[in-house]
Symmetry: C2
Subunit: 129 residues, 2 copies
């Protein structure tokens, strides 16, 4: 409807901040990265995203569902089966988040090299005598 929305992520009170805070999150990026491929079950996500605790996955999924980025479908099997899938809205974000994963994997070595160079220049106190 409007070409340039009144929203400004640099304004403190802007609700955009809340959204940015949620999507610019490590776990969100990884979860949506998987869900953009196909629907996943809760425990499958938990096993695939190493280091992610079940509590945090639960919170993350609930927030993503509330924000309309992910849908949750429960099947009345025994035991119950729950499937998480990305929504159309979430799909519009997935490629941008996927770019972050790609960038990390492709540039990790450059970053590590920069860190070594920086640490060599700036030996911080507490390390080495």
């Amino acid at each position: 409807m409007n070409a340039s929305p009144p929203w400004d992520a640099y304004a403190a009170e802007c609700p955009t901040r809340m959204v940015l805070d949620r999507i610019a999150d490590k776990w969100t990026v990884l979860v949506l990265g998987l869900l953009s491929e196909h629907p996943w079950r809760f425990n499958a996500l938990l096993r695939t995203i190493e280091g992610l605790s079940q509590k945090v996955l639960s919170q993350t999924l609930k927030r993503l569902e509330r924000d309309g980025l992910v849908s949750r479908t429960a099947f009345a099997t025994v035991p119950v089966t729950v499937e998480y899938a990305i929504t159309p809205l979430g799909a519009t974000l997935a490629s941008s988040l996927g770019a972050l994963i790609d960038w990390s994997e492709r540039n990790i070595e450059s970053v590590q090299a920069a860190q070594r160079a920086f640490d060599a220049r700036q030996p911080h106190p507490g390390r080495a005598a």
Copy 2:
């Protein structure tokens, strides 16, 4: 050098995680969003990114500098002038991060609508009697 690197952000011990954790950060996104336009001074960043404290800005910039995404240049004026600029490496990331800001500003209304719908379905205890 290698088309498909061995790095996997879904592995717990992968250093990619560290990088992802840093770039998937609200403040990093906002800071790099500004620096991608032109170099900025410390206090200018502080004033422009509302709600960002000086301590956190300082930490964020230092990490970005260490990771090779941002350069810091001090001019021996009185008082001292410091300029932060994006590096070539950082520039390769800036567009992806900028996409997150754009997405937030363009889809905030959809997200808010989803939240209202969700909250109407799932009235959580503690609110309303």
